[in-house]
């Protein structure tokens, strides 16, 4: 029952098969398809000869070019290190002040530091290093652990409350939750603390502030200092300035006194090279200078 018909439109014969009204033409395969097929196969054959491609039991054909992606990567890393050496050597060798005095080198610090900061620090401290609630602003002069280049370098190296054996450790106690202070005492000390930075709650009386001062001296001064200006050796913040990590309104400060605080910053010693960490220190100091 095979019927060969000629398609009037293309002029080709059908194959004589028919399925529910569908027929097929027996059009020969255009020559161009064979050309491309052969070209693709030839390309592949060439590639197989030149590059590692076919498995041979426990090894593989290495290819005439001897290409190897692992060697290629380590070579280009080596080359990159060589190219960078002109400025990386200077940063590694010279002191902070010396580098800061070299405008060309500082330009490199700014461009490289920006990406380093963006990839490693921005997740918590923000792209502009201005921090956020719970994360310190790095563009102010309020450095919890000291603002000297050496101190910043050490903070980056070991982190805060991190897994590093030499980690910086700091914890503010939960005075309210753990029952160390009763509610009136906490309200008094709150009034006192707010008064230090010139903020007073509407209903705070002079008596309250005075009472709060006594509570502060016995409970808070050991870390925050008698003058409440903070201590960088225990990472206790200055309470007299306008910088607040967890918020400076009455509610936030009360929450802090009630529940305590413990920040975390990871150690970067095993994740960033000494060079990268030094660039970050220089970048941060430069950033602080640039920020009014």
């Amino acid at each position: 029952m095979e019927k060969f018909e000629r398609d009037p439109h293309t002029g080709y014969l059908t194959t004589g098969h028919e399925w529910n009204g569908i027929i097929e033409l027996n059009t020969p395969v255009p020559r161009i398809i064979y050309v491309f097929l052969i070209a693709a196969v030839l390309f592949s054959l060439g590639y197989w000869v030149l590059m590692p491609t076919w498995p041979l039991g426990t090894t593989f054909t290495k290819g005439l070019l001897g290409a190897d992606q692992r060697t290629a990567v380590s070579q280009s890393l080596k080359q990159a290190a060589l190219d960078h050496a002109t400025w990386t050597n200077l940063i590694e060798k010279e002191g902070y002040a010396q580098i800061q005095g070299n405008p060309q080198l500082m330009e490199t610090v700014r461009t490289t530091g920006r990406t380093l900061f963006g990839d490693n620090c921005a997740a918590c401290h923000g792209r502009e290093a201005k921090g956020g609630k719970g994360f310190p602003n790095l563009t102010t002069n309020a450095w919890l652990w000291g603002g000297s280049p050496e101190a910043i370098a050490e903070t980056i190296r070991v982190g805060v409350n991190s897994t590093h054996p030499e980690t910086r450790t700091s914890q503010m106690l939960a005075f309210g939750r753990d029952g160390m202070l009763q509610r009136p005492d906490m309200e008094n000390v709150l009034a006192y603390v707010l008064s230090l930075s010139g903020k007073t709650t509407s209903d705070a009386s002079a008596n309250q502030i005075a009472a709060g001062k006594t509570v502060f001296a016995t409970n808070c001064a050991s870390c925050h200092g008698d003058d409440a200006k903070g201590k960088t050796d225990v990472g206790a913040p200055d309470l007299t300035d306008a910088v607040w990590i967890y918020g400076g309104d009455a509610n936030s400060v009360y929450t802090t006194i009630w529940g305590g605080r413990q920040g975390h910053m990871p150690t970067w010693e095993s994740r960033l090279s000494p060079l990268d960490r030094k660039i970050l220190v220089l970048y941060l100091i430069d950033l602080r200078k640039a920020t009014p």
């Binding site: 059009t27 020969p28 097929l37 592949s44 054909t61 990839d119």
Partner: protein, 550 residues
């Protein structure tokens, strides 16, 4: 229960037995997994089985179909499958738009765990690939196979088992993701019990296909059936091998893969790429080979080109998966071998696309006037574009720019929106009037509307992702004068933001088109059936079929 009325008495009894076994399995899962999310899935299986048992019982005493049923093809599974496909399309694409919006506005999870990116993203992929694509493939394959073989499905029960069993798998998959059940393999996320269930369903599917082909009344097997059969066979193979895993216990949803490290990665991408090849390409080429010549009323341009493209595609695709792992810990020889096969793959792919477009010669005026045929034409064009792009991106040096960027997402969506969805919508619009015996779709104007929404959505989406991906890739490899990276990762994210918004808009356009399509299909089904026999489908398919042995 119209469907139950098409079953014979003994099939109704078998249905009850199968459902009781399923109910017992659900109960067992629930008992064994009482301290595990698995219990939720046990309950889901039980409820599904119970609902089906009630359905069968309520229709149990309807009169049995007579032998005259054998005079017609059995189209109930195709009808239900097409409706399910449209429903999954709406759900899957809605989740797609949501997950796209989530990348632009991360707060859209509303602080719910189940709505986090990692959970609703696989709901989108499974919903559209397996829910929409899979149901459309099952429905059209039954339809096409019967007509091109001039043989009825071997029985009524097994195709329904395949269809509903498959949808139970999809339901287990997407509900599991939201509960946090996943084996973390892309496009193979469902856990061991769902995987085993799919194997059972799929083997029955394969057997139905072979039994129908074996009883065919045509001397030759039509090309569409080659592709459908390749789809069924290879997907079974891929699914079984990639999902080999050991469950923590029979009471736990968690399992551990048999493969680890680079072997696991290679197995996964051998699976992943061939899922694209045999699920998203082979099956839909089967669809194209039936519906396009049928709708265009033209013969297939070249039988010989069909042969070259079929064997080229099935042979070359198998080797190409390693191009997903360029510049990784995978040995370089595996990468470069995959790359060369990916390049050779372009030729049979373009032969397929060319054969489809040449088939339209002599029918271009129909393409202009008929949105249904235009859906299919655009599908063939996007098939050609995407396969070119795929082979291009498989080249190692190109891949070093495109890998891990949105370019990959753009490429995939050029394929899934432009090719897979378009051919499916074309096939659905062609078959709905044929299946429900309507003169035409409820509204040809709405088909036209859907077409323009779909094409606009695809173009906006794909261009957004091309731009985004190439910018991303370039930003990641740009160095400043000091020889260090010029941009941080966050810088590249900020650059992506406008494109993520554009992508959401593109997806929304595409979803809108799909919803228009759902409405149109629904209204077509609800309108009165035509009385005359002169319809869109040639009378041949309506001819009585009497087959020996039935």
């Amino acid at each position: 229960m119209q469907v139950i009325a098409t079953l014979t008495r003994s099939e109704r009894q078998w249905a009850l037995i199968i459902l009781l076994v399923l109910f017992a399995l659900g109960l067992a899962l629930m008992a064994a997994g009482r301290n595990d999310p698995l219990a939720g899935h046990g309950a889901l299986v039980m409820i599904a089985a119970l609902a089906a048992i009630f359905a069968v019982i309520s229709g149990y005493f309807t009169p049995e179909p007579g032998d005259e049923r054998l005079d017609h093809y059995y189209d109930e599974p195709s009808k239900i499958g097409l409706v399910l496909a449209m429903a999954w399309a709406a759900v899957g694409m809605f989740f797609g738009v949501w997950v796209a919006a989530l990348l632009a506005w991360p707060d859209l999870t509303f602080d719910a765990g189940w709505a986090s990116f990692g959970r609703i993203r696989p709901v989108h992929t499974t919903g559209v690939i397996f829910g929409f694509g899979g149901n459309a493939l099952i429905a059209t394959s039954f339809y096409v196979m019967q007509r091109t073989s001039r043989a009825r499905l071997p029985d009524q029960l097994s195709p329904l088992f395949v269809l509903f069993g498959y949808n139970l798998f999809c339901l287990l998959a997407v509900s599991g993701y939201m509960m946090g059940i996943t084996q973390s393999k892309e496009y193979a996320e469902p856990e061991w019990y769902a995987d085993i269930w799919l194997v059972v369903v799929w083997v029955v599917y394969f057997v139905i296909y072979l039994r129908t082909l074996a009883r065919r009344n045509e001397p030759h097997i039509y090309v569409a059936n080659w592709y459908y059969l390749a789809f069924i066979l290879v997907v079974a193979m891929l699914h079984i091998v990639n999902n080999l895993a050991v469950p923590v216990s029979f009471g736990s949803a968690k399992s551990y893969s048999l493969f680890s490290g680079v072997q696991d990665a290679m197995t996964q991408w051998w699976y992943g790429h061939n899922a694209v090849a045999f699920f998203l390409t082979s099956g839909f080429l089967g669809m194209l080979y039936y519906y396009m010549p049928k709708r265009a009323g033209r013969p297939i341009y070249s039988y010989r080109m069909s042969i070259i493209s079929f064997w080229g595609i099935t042979f070359f695709y198998m080797w190409a998966g390693s191009h997903h792992l360029h510049y990784t810990a995978l040995p370089q020889w595996v990468q470069s071998l995959g790359m060369t096969f990916s390049i050779m793959l372009l030729i049979p792919s373009w032969v397929s696309a060319g054969n489809a477009l040449m088939t339209l010669n002599g029918a271009w005026h129909k393409v202009r006037d008929d949105a249904v045929l235009r859906f299919m034409m655009v599908a063939a064009v996007f098939y050609g574009l995407t396969t070119f792009e795929g082979s291009f991106m498989a080249i190692r040096t190109v891949n070093s720019l495109s890998h891990y960027t949105d370019w990959t997402i753009g490429h995939v969506h050029a394929g899934t929106l432009g090719w897979v969805s378009m051919i499916t919508f074309g096939a659905i619009y062609a078959s709905v009037p044929w299946l429900w015996k309507r003169p035409a779709m409820y509204s040809t104007q709405l088909v036209e509307t859907h077409f323009w929404f779909a094409i606009a959505g695809t173009i906006v989406y794909v261009f957004a992702m091309w731009n985004s991906g190439i910018i991303q890739g370039l930003m990641w490899r740009t160095y400043n004068d000091s020889g260090t990276l010029a941009y941080s990762f966050v810088d590249s994210l900020i650059a992506m933001h406008p494109y993520y918004i554009a992508r959401t808009v593109g997806g929304l356009l595409f979803l809108t088109g799909t919803l228009v399509g759902c409405y149109n299909v629904w209204m077509t089904i609800r309108t009165a059936p035509r009385t005359s026999t002169t319809g869109a489908e040639p009378a041949l398919a309506e001819q009585p079929l009497l087959q020996p042995g039935e």
